[in-house]
C-alpha cells in the first residue's frame, strides 16, 4: 500500500521530470533558432547576390507572359555560345537562354522541364562540352541554381525544390546533402571584408539581380532573353593554361551523365519537343588536346542522343563551308565571346532551318569514324605550347608542340628573352621542335611557330619560363 508521503514523492518526481523535459525542449529550440538566425545572417552577407543563375531565373520569370518556343540549356559554354536574338532574327523563333555557369545536366533537365510546362516550347537546345559529361557535378552550381530558382517561388514550392536537391543522387549520400542547408558555404563571395561589404551593400541598394550581376561580373553585358556574354579575346600564347585538360584533367564520360542526357532526350520526346544536342565550338587546340579520346567519347554521347530521337551536332566538326570559327571568336579556350556567339548563332540558325526542312544535318559535319578527315581539314596552327626538361646534368631543353592539322608542316624559332628585355635567337627557323638552352640563361624562351613557306614573323607563339 502506498503512503501519502510516497505519493507526494512520486508527484514531485514527475513534476521534476516534466520540468526537466520542458527545459530541455526550450533550450533545444533556442539553440536551433540561434543556428537558423546565424545561417540567415551569413547567407545575407556571404551568398552571392546577382549570380548569373539568379539573373536567368529572374529574367525567365519576368518573361512569364511572353511567347518562348525555344530554350537553350547547358553550362557556361552553352550560355556563351547561343545568342537568342541572332537565332530569332534568322529563324523567326522566340528563344530564351536558360543556360547557367557550370549547370549540371540534371539542372538542365529541370530547366527544360520548366520551360516545357510553362511555355510548351517546341525546341530545346542542349549545349555541352567534353567536361559536361566527364566531370563530377559541382555542388556549388547545383546550390546556386536551386537557390536562384527558389527566389521567385512560394515557400512550399521553394522548400520542395530544395528538398529535391538535397535528396538528389548527387547529394543525398554526401556531406553536401546536410551542408547545403548552409547555402552561403557553397555560393559565396570572395571571403575578404571588401567583397562581403560590397555584397551586403549591393543587396541593400535595391538593385535587382541583373544590375547586381553587372557589378559583380565585371565586363559582362546582358543582351536580353537570358543571354549575356563578355567581349574579351583569348590569348593563344597562353594555350597551355587554357586547355580543358590542363584545367579539369582528362577522364572518360560518366555513365550517370550519359543517362542524364538520355533523360532530357526522353523528356523532350515524350512531350513532342525537338531536342538538339550541340557540342559547342572551341579553338581547335582545345579539341586536339584530347587526342583519340575525343572521338571515342563523343561518339558515346552521339549514340545516346540519337537513340532517344535527338539530333546531335558537334559544332567543332562542322564542315568549313557550314561554320568555321575565327581566332577572334573566342573569349578563352572553352567559351565564345559575344561576337563569336552571334556569328555562331547565325550559322547555326542555318543548320536548324535545314533540320526543320527535314534535311540530314549529319552530312554537314565530319563523323567520329572519319576523325582523320577532320584532322586533315585543319589548315592552320591553332596553338603552340612548350615544356621545359632539365636533365640530371643540368641541361635544359625547351620542346614545342603545335596543335594543328595532319597535313600542316610547321617550323619553329626559339628566342631567349633576357630579364633585361634583350632578345637573342637561340635557334632560327627550322623543323626541329626542340632547342637546348645555354647554361646560365635567365629570362624566358619565346617559341614561335609558323607554317613552312610562310614569311610571317609567327603564326602562333608561346613563352617558356626557365627554372633558375
Amino acid at each position: 500500500m502506498r503512503t501519502s508521503k510516497e505519493g507526494r514523492n512520486t508527484k514531485a518526481a514527475q513534476g521534476t521530470a516534466s520540468h526537466t523535459w520542458n527545459r530541455w525542449v526550450v533550450e533545444t529550440l533556442v539553440v536551433v533558432v540561434v543556428i537558423v538566425a546565424l545561417d540567415v545572417l551569413f547567407s545575407f552577407a556571404l551568398e552571392q547576390y546577382g549570380s548569373l543563375s539568379s539573373v536567368m531565373w529572374s529574367e525567365y520569370r519576368a518573361a512569364a507572359g511572353e511567347n518562348i518556343d525555344t530554350v537553350v540549356v547547358g553550362s557556361s559554354t552553352s550560355q556563351r555560345a547561343f545568342d537568342p536574338t541572332a537565332l530569332d532574327d534568322a529563324l523567326g523563333t522566340s528563344t530564351f537562354s536558360m543556360a547557367t555557369p557550370a549547370q549540371p545536366l540534371d539542372d538542365s533537365y529541370t530547366a527544360a522541364r520548366q520551360a516545357i510546362e510553362d511555355h510548351h516550347v517546341r525546341r530545346v537546345i542542349l549545349g555541352v562540352d567534353y567536361e559536361s559529361l566527364s566531370n563530377d557535378n559541382w555542388a556549388g552550381s547545383h546550390v546556386a541554381f536551386a537557390r536562384a530558382k527558389m527566389e521567385g517561388e512560394s515557400l512550399p514550392r521553394a522548400s520542395a525544390d530544395y528538398w529535391k536537391l538535397l535528396v538528389s543522387p548527387a547529394f543525398v549520400r554526401r556531406a553536401d546533402s546536410l551542408c547545403a542547408l548552409f547555402p552561403w558555404g557553397y555560393n559565396h563571395v570572395k571571403l575578404d571584408p571588401s567583397s562581403v561589404v560590397a555584397n551586403v551593400r549591393e543587396r541593400l541598394s535595391g538593385d535587382d539581380a541583373l544590375e547586381a550581376a553587372k557589378v559583380v561580373n565585371g565586363g559582362w553585358t546582358y543582351y536580353g532573353r537570358g543571354y549575356g556574354n563578355y567581349d574579351y579575346l583569348i590569348d593563344y600564347s597562353q594555350a597551355r593554361k587554357e586547355t580543358s585538360v590542363a584545367i579539369h584533367g582528362l577522364s572518360d564520360f560518366k555513365q550517370t551523365c550519359l543517362d542524364q542526357v538520355a533523360d532530357i532526350a526522353r523528356l523532350c520526346r515524350e512531350n513532342g519537343v525537338q531536342l538538339v544536342v550541340v557540342v559547342t565550338p572551341r579553338p581547335a587546340f582545345n579539341v586536339l588536346v584530347y587526342g583519340e579520346k575525343y572521338p571515342e567519347q563523343m561518339e558515346l554521347l552521339q549514340d545516346v542522343a540519337e537513340a532517344q530521337g535527338a539530333t546531335f551536332v558537334d559544332a567543332n566538326l562542322l564542315h568549313a563551308d557550314v561554320y568555321s570559327p575565327q581566332d577572334a571568336d573566342f573569349g578563352d579556350g572553352e567559351h565564345l565571346n559575344h561576337a563569336g556567339a552571334t556569328r555562331f548563332s547565325q550559322e547555326f540558325a542555318s543548320l536548324l532551318r535545314a533540320l526543320d526542312e527535314g534535311q540530314d544535318v549529319g552530312s554537314l559535319s565530319y563523323s567520329y569514324d572519319g576523325w582523320d578527315q577532320y584532322l586533315a581539314s585543319i589548315r592552320q596552327i591553332s596553338a603552340v605550347v612548350s615544356r621545359l626538361d632539365v636533365s640530371s646534368d643540368g641541361t635544359a631543353t625547351v620542346t614545342a608542340q603545335s596543335y594543328t592539322g595532319t597535313d600542316v608542316q610547321v617550323e619553329y624559332r626559339f628566342l631567349l628573352m633576357g630579364e633585361d628585355g634583350s632578345m637573342t635567337v637561340l635557334q632560327d627557323w627550322g623543323s626541329s621542335d626542340s632547342c637546348e638552352v645555354p647554361e646560365g640563361s635567365r629570362g624566358r624562351v619565346t617559341v614561335c611557330a609558323r607554317q613552312v613557306g610562310s614569311t610571317a614573323d609567327y603564326d602562333r607563339y608561346c613563352m617558356q619560363g626557365l627554372a633558375h
Partner: protein, 527 residues
Amino acid sequence: MDLLSLSFVLFLAVSLAAYYLVGRICRNAQWLVLLAASLAFYCLAGRWQTLAYMLACAAITWAAPLGLARMDAACRAERAAAPDRAARRAAKAAWARRRRAVLVASLAACFGMLAYLKYWNVLLYEVGLAASPSSLGLLLPLGVSFYTFQAASYLVDAYNGRFEPQRNPLKHLLFVCWFPQVIQGPINRYADLGPQLLEGHSAKGVPVRRSLLRFGYGALKKYAIANMLVGTIDQIFSNVTPGIPGSVVAFGILLYSAQQYGDFSGGIDMVEAASSLFGVRMAENFRRPYFSVSLADFWRRWHITLGAWMRDYVFFPFAVSRPMRALGARASRLGEHLGRTLPACVANLLVFLIVGLWHGAEPHYVAWGLYNGLVIALADLLAPAFSRANAALRVDESSRAHRALCVARTFLVVNVGWYFDRIYGFGDSLLCLRNTFTNFAPQQFHLWLMQAGVLDSTLKFMVLSAVACLLVFAVSLAQERGVDVSGRILGWNCVVRGVFYFLVIALVVVTSFLTQNVAGGFMYANF
C-alpha cells in the same frame, strides 16, 4: 554513404524510430531491428555482393563454439564413464586435441578468407603473377578485418570458456555485423557488446545531446582536418625525388599525423555517437594518443581495441609459450631484467609485425610494424639504463617538464614511424628520413611545394585546419586533465551554445565544400 549525409541521418532516424517503437511493444524483439538495420546498412554503405563473406564468417564463428560446447559435454561423459584416472586423462587429452583442431580450423577459415580477399592479389602482384594489386577484381568487403578480428575474438573466448556460446545464429550475426562498427571498428568483445545489443533499451536513458555533440566533434576532425590535408599530403609524397627537401618531408609527415588522427578518431567518434543513440556503448578506440609518454603508451591510446586484441590473442599466448619461457630462462643467466623482458620483446616484435601486415602486405607496412616493435622492445630492454641515467642526472620523473619532454619525444618517435606508414616505398621512406636530417633546406620549402602542385590558396585554407587542430588540442588537453568537456559545453547558456555550434558547423560546411573532390570514405574502411 558518408556518415555526415542526409541518407545516413534518415537511415539513423528510421532505425531509431523502429528500435524504440518496437521496444514499447516488445523489448525482447528490439535486437531484430538492430540486425535488420545492420544488414541494410551493410548493403547500402558497402557492397551487397560481399555480404556472403561476412555471413560465412558469422556462420563459422557461431557453429564452432557450439561444436566445442558439445565436445565439452562429450568429454565430460567419456571421462565420467572412464574406468580409471589414466583413462580419464587420456580422454581429456584426446578431446583437447579435437577441440584445438576445431579452433584452428575455424580460425584458419576466417583468416583464410581475410588473407585471400586482402593479400592474395597483392602477393601475386609482388611475385609478378598479377598485372596490378587489384587486377583479380576481388571485392573487399566493408570492414573485413574488423569483423574478422571481432568474430575471431568471440571464437577464442568461447574456446577458453569465458562465456556460454550464443545459440541463436541471428543474435550472433548481429554481434558480428553491428553497423556502427563495420566501417572501421572498434573491435568489440562479445562480453561487453553482446549483452547490450540483445537486452533492449528505452529512449529515456539515451544521452542524445552528448551523442550529437560527439558526432559533430568527429565530423569536425574528419572534414576540417583529415579531408583538408589529404590532398596536400598526396601531392607531397606522390613524387618523391632524391632532392626532396627535408622541410617539405617533415611538413608532409606532420600533416599526415593530423590527417590520420582526424580521419580515424573522427570516424570512430561518429560511429560511437551513432551507436550510443541506440543505448549501445562500444569500446573506446582512442584516448588522446598524442599525449602519450612512450611508444608503448601510444599504442595503449591509439587504436586501443586492436592493441588489446593483439595483447590478448597474440602477445600473451606467445610470450608465455614454452619456447619463450625457455628463452627467458636462458636470458636470465645474463641478468634478471633481460630474462624477464626478452620474451616480451620478441612477442612485441611479432605483434607489431602482424599489425604492419594488417595494414597491408607491402614492405613499407612491414617496416613500419617492425620499427614500432623494435622501439618498444629496446625501450623495455634499456629501461633500467634510462632509470639509472635519470637518477644520475637527478631528473624528477614526476615533474610536468619531464612529462612534457616525454610527450614531445614520443610524438617525434611516432612521426618517424609515419615515414614508413605513409610513404609508399621502403626506399623512398629511407630517402625522406635521410633528407629530413641531412637536407632540411627550408629555403626550398615554398618552391618545392609549388612544383608539387600545392597551390598558395591550399596553404592559405590550411588556416581552417589549424583552427580545428587547436580546438581538438584544447579539448584533448582538458580531457587529459579530467575535465568533462561535453558536460561543460552542455552547461553553457543555450544562446552561447547555439553560437558555438554554428561556428563549428560553419567550419565543417566550408571545409566540406573545399574538399568535395576528396574521397568521402574513411582510411580504415577497407581494412
